[in-house]
């Protein structure tokens, strides 16, 4: 009986680990690509002086990010998530003040944080050692 339970548990562990190796990384890949694109649209609108469109796209970006954050915090270190949240909030301030250079700098930090999340989940060799 015990041997059977152990076998089942071992099998379930393998399946659970496989699930964790595949699904979170696929989910993050999709969401990060979408967020990256939205971030690009915010920057484009801000550069072309369309503050209304930039603000509207930013709201979509923030909503999408918050949706992702709730799920990603289940499997990612919250510190890594904060590294993306802080520049995203800064972008809002720079959009309101119209400081495009600072907005671009914040967007770069936001994108780097997204890349870092992806690297953790997709098994980047730089993080292995």
């Amino acid at each position: 009986m015990f041997v059977k339970v152990r076998r089942v548990f071992t099998l379930l562990s393998v399946l659970f680990l496989l699930f964790l190796f595949i699904l979170p990384s696929l989910y993050l890949k999709d969401r990060c690509a979408e967020l990256d694109e939205l971030c690009g649209q915010v920057l484009y609108a801000a550069r072309s002086g369309d503050a209304v469109e930039a603000q509207r796209t930013y709201v979509v970006l923030r909503t999408r990010y918050e949706q992702m954050r709730r799920k990603a915090e289940l499997f990612l270190n919250h510190g890594v998530m904060d590294d993306a949240t802080v520049p995203l909030h800064e972008m809002d301030v720079y959009l309101k003040t119209g400081d495009t250079l600072a907005l671009e700098a914040a967007a770069v930090r936001f994108r780097l944080a997204l890349n870092c999340m992806l690297a953790i989940e997709t098994g980047d060799l730089r993080l292995f050692l």
Partner: protein
């Protein structure tokens, strides 16, 4: 605070289940690879219990990975004797027939004082009364004491066949020819060595054998007089 409490309870239950699945009950039973897993699991769990910034999965995934590694090592150890010897080491005979084995003591990084310490914990207070002392792979010391008076001194038992394979060192030590032993086993109805779960040479000079489960797990005792003919 409630979250910390709940995380601790959850991880405690998880670790308890994992350790139960590994099949070990106490530290004294642990082989080196079990010990590594136990220490690593404790450290991994404590990190996630105290830090709410870290998702529980950060502890659960490495613990599951260690569990799977432990299961793999344990299975390989059961299947391959050489692998088992590599991972767990083999028992070392520190005292043979009352004589301290200096080379073996050096091999085990054991001083005579260490040996005396261990013997005292086994209620043996002088080296004179020790016939055999074996340092087991889990670090414990097994002691076989000398008989008092004119009684014959006890001898060590040796495994001659284990998991269907010859134990050649023991056969050489006892000067037993595998060919002669195979012929003796045939007389007792054992056709293949692979069918033998174990064959032990007992201290009184007789043999005890058990067949594998698929052969009915039958136990046979082979008397001393038949075994004597095997020895060169």
């Amino acid at each position: 605070m409630l979250i910390l409490f709940l995380r601790a309870v959850l991880l405690y239950a998880f670790i308890l289940f994992i350790l139960r699945m590994t099949g070990k009950r106490q530290i004294a039973d642990l082989q080196p690879f079990d010990l590594i897993i136990t220490l690593a699991i404790a450290d991994l769990a404590s990190t996630a219990i105290a830090d709410t910034n870290i998702p529980l999965l950060y502890s659960i995934v490495p613990i599951l990975a260690l569990y799977l590694v432990q299961q793999t090592v344990a299975r390989l150890s059961l299947r391959f004797r050489r692998f088992r010897t590599f991972v767990c080491g083999s028992p070392l005979l520190l005292v043979r027939e009352g004589v301290l084995q200096e080379g073996v003591l050096r091999l085990a990084n054991y001083t005579v004082s260490d040996l005396c310490d261990h013997l005292r914990s086994e209620d043996v207070f002088d080296l004179k009364s020790v016939q055999y002392a074996i340092l087991e792979t889990n670090g414990t010391l097994s002691v076989l004491q000398k008989k008092k008076g004119d009684q014959p001194q006890p001898k060590l038992s040796h495994m001659l066949i284990l998991d269907g394979a010859w134990c050649r060192t023991a056969l050489r030590h006892l000067s037993i020819q595998p060919k002669a032993l195979r012929a003796l086993l045939r007389r007792y109805g054992v056709r293949e060595i692979e069918d033998v779960f174990y064959l032990q040479y007992l201290g009184d000079g007789s043999l005890r054998l058990q067949l594998r489960e698929r052969r009915g797990a039958k136990v046979l005792d082979i008397p001393q007089k038949e075994v004597k003919e095997l020895c060169l």
